[in-house]
Amino acid sequence: MERDSRNEKFFSRKRSFTFGAYGGRPEPLEHSILDILDSPTSETKPFLSAGSNQKVTELFEIIEKLQSQLLKIGRDLPLILPPKLGGYWIDPPLQKFAETSPTSSHYGLDPETYDIMERDSEATYYQEFFRSRYHHSFTAVDPSLGPLLLSVCLEEEEKRLRVILRMRECSMHGVFSVSLFPNIPSAVELAKMLCDSVTVLRFDVVSYLKAPDLITAFDEHRMSPNFKFGVLYQREGQLTEEDILCNNEESEEFQEFLSILGATVALQGFTGFRGGLDVCHGQTGNDAVFTSFHGREIMFHVSTKLPFTEGDTQQLQRKRHIGNDIVAVVYQEGHTPFLSDVIGSHFLHCFLVVRREEGCSSGLLQVSVTAREDVPPFGPSLPDPPIFTESSLLREFLLTKLINAEISCYKAERFSRLELRTRSSLLEGLQAELSTRSQCMIGDSPVSALSTSEGMRGVTEGSGGFIENFKRAIRVRSNSFDTLGGPRKMGGVPLPQKPKAATERDGESELAYKPPEPSFPPTDNLGSTEVKDHSSPQENT
């Protein structure tokens, strides 16, 4: 969390000018570009907005004008051009691009400063600090904040209280020294210490054996160590989505670039993170680029390696993968700029554009970034000038930047709204389930109450509650012991299990929160009828 906010603070000043999006004054170079774009050729239509069908000739006229204009200034075309209607930021900004020269002093080329952002830095706190210790959880429904789930753990050796308060919008975590309090505070007091908006007057204690599993699953529902990114190959003169997606041949330089990103792997029988690619029937091509990076698995959807369909201008078999990625890399050969909104997709929010500097024997690679305007800036910052000579350094930079880009994109309106809704619904379901099951366990609530929560399933503990059922089960078995004259293994209620390690399959954590599967308490043949009466599997709703 700290690192996250530090990144945001540090990079907020790097946010660059977006045409049509902010009220600032453009620099002279931007003026000239805007003047060209406003000339009669492009006047009637927005500059290649997503989904527009501008004629290729018109586009080339625009580029020719841009090229001639920029060459007068003495510079090549920038790597990225914004849409005329705005909505995207570019880094480095266009005015900065004009000042960039290979002789500028370098800064920012220190991999030590390449911090990978955490999507949910506090998600593992419960698993890490609570589950191995004795702790309590409490639930409540606040009139204004909605469902609340509080977990409290006393760390006796450190003489401190560790608290997590889960709310619809976020979770709050705090550590308090026990010496601050004459008596250990109540759940309400602890909740108010973390969030003063809490108005609820009492919390109910959670007394359900599987609660830790469900809470862990909720906390970690967004966590995944896997990432998938698109890779587009843009050649000289290619401006449209169709042009870019129709490339089939890979130049040596492009192959060299792919080797920086990762290793080319055969998809058939591939056992790592597959990122939605087919590893059985070869329906999504034969090869892909894959890498592991600081404990994360990354699959690249390389446009040229995905199936090419003759006669399909949209190249659906390629776009259905790349268009469903949130971040993509664009490798440019030539000097045709990449237009921020050229690929029509609700997913794609950020592009990292890499261009090989021509005429350099050492193979300098220049980098630029563009993202939708509601994507917060993210690190690591581009060096000044944004040029890399070492491939190992570029790899470290690009992979960190790609991961951070995706994590930052989740804060964009389109994704954050859905994430909030998902979290809110999951918390509501979890609170209802824990509350109902706890009541059943202590015998406060009839069995039928369990079916009220939608999508909730599992064994009911019986109308008499857990204790009563347990007594009944023991009675039944002790009667049978007399007749058998020998000890038997008692079924009863299973002890709380340690959560199984999350198995990752295609980015999906198996531990992620879902309603529990129906479970049947083990019963012996003897006396099973009586036990069954009190613990029949719940009907699905």
Partner: protein, 198 residues
């Protein structure tokens, strides 16, 4: 928008590019667009009348990506009926439905009482990879209904949603999109208390 208790929630699942959005937009708005723009998630609501009271048909058009597993699980747990779409031009898209079906099964426990439709879209295309009998066989294995559609040609789109609502056992529902019903149909609707779009 908060979900009402009387909403009838239909969730559309399927791999990327099979035509989920095209089917939904063809049904809800009567439009079709050729360009493929991947969806994150969209929800469409349509008011239908049912037993002289009003309820909302809520259609959730989901992503074909594997990006948000928690969101997918939530859609399943909240959904009342499911449309599983593949493209007849892509065997892979039918394969990709298998884990989705398994997930519906795992969360709902059983699909016996839940309306599920397996839909082979793009039936107008000549370059087929999945023949009709293969789709039917898969539907039989899954014990669900089957239909081939074409959002482009507006073939079997209304029928798909009509059939889905007919499969609902807990409520007696029906769709009459264009309002052109015979007297016989109207009488049957009155008797059965079926639903029609207002």
């Amino acid at each position: 928008m908060p979900e009402q208790s009387n909403d009838y929630r239909v969730v559309v699942f399927g791999a990327g590019g099979v035509g989920k959005s095209s089917l939904v937009l063809r049904f809800v708005k009567g439009t079709f667009r050729d360009t493929y723009i991947p969806t994150v998630e969209d929800t469409y609501r349509q008011v239908i009348s049912c037993d002289k009271s009003v309820c909302t048909l809520q259609i959730t058009d989901t992503t074909g990506s594997h990006q948000f597993p928690a969101m997918q699980r939530l859609s399943i747990s909240k959904g009342h009926a499911f449309i599983l779409v593949y493209s007849v031009t892509s065997r892979q898209s039918l394969e990709e439905l298998k884990p989705i079906y398994q997930q519906v099964l795992a969360i709902k426990g059983s699909v016996d009482a839940i309306p599920v439709m397996l839909v082979g879209n793009k039936s107008d295309e000549t370059q087929r990879e999945v023949e009709t009998p293969e789709g039917e066989a898969q539907a039989a294995t899954w014990k669900c209904a089957f239909m081939e559609t074409s959002a482009k040609m507006n073939y079997n789109v209304k029928e798909l949603f009509q059939e889905l609502l007919t499969l609902e056992k807990k409520r007696n529902m029906s769709l009459s999109i264009d309002g052109k019903r015979s007297g016989k149909q109207k009488r049957a609707d009155k008797l059965k208390g079926k639903c029609s779009i207002m």
